[in-house]
Subunit: 119 residues, 2 copies
């Protein structure tokens, strides 16, 4: 038996056995994921436009990240059949909602910038 500590992990979803918050954070992806999302909040962008805007991300990682976002339904991929056959990426409503929460992290960082532990 586990122990006498508690009822065990009330922050876990009893159905899936996982932490929804952790899962959600995982959706944000790796090193550049949040930046990509944040970047797209200003509107639709093309693939190479993103690589240039993020400046430091490799095409490999960006494609992987965008595909993951597409699978999770955060981002929509739009193939333009114009001359340059460019591909646009934009946030879905779901992704946009998530981006709004990310903005609160920005507010948090501003609120707690210099006053150490706010003790």
């Amino acid at each position: 038996m586990k122990d006498t500590t508690q009822d065990r992990q009330p922050w876990l979803d009893p159905e899936t056995g996982t932490c929804p918050v952790g899962e959600t954070l995982r959706l944000l992806g790796g090193k550049h994921g949040p930046s990509v999302l944040h970047c797209l909040m200003s509107g639709e962008m093309h693939f190479l436009e993103l690589t240039r805007a993020l400046d430091g991300i490799s095409r490999k990682v960006l494609t992987a990240q965008l595909q993951e976002f597409e699978r999770s339904g955060l981002v929509a991929r739009i193939e333009k059949h114009d001359a340059r056959r460019r591909v646009g990426y934009s946030l879905t409503a779901k992704g946009s909602d998530l981006g709004a929460i990310l903005s609160q992290l920005y507010d948090w960082s501003q609120a707690h910038r210099d006053r150490a532990a706010t003790r």
Copy 2:
């Protein structure tokens, strides 16, 4: 020269040249960071209590994570000088505020659970 795209990365802090949101997310740590934080939202816990509650995290990673949280001022380390010399960890106000935002991620995950891309 850069390009004609835009004014360049308005989501970056002009002072530090970094994305505050990305930096904040980085504070959450790796695989188990958010869980640790979430776990501590229910109150102060001891080291081994955390290892048992999280069940799957190694002591090495937990130690590193807690030290990182302490450095960032999210968590306070309290040495008890009682019989067992146990060490308590609890959220600071700063960490607590951050935890509150994490809770919104939970709400988001509930809101977008089954309706795919919410298009």
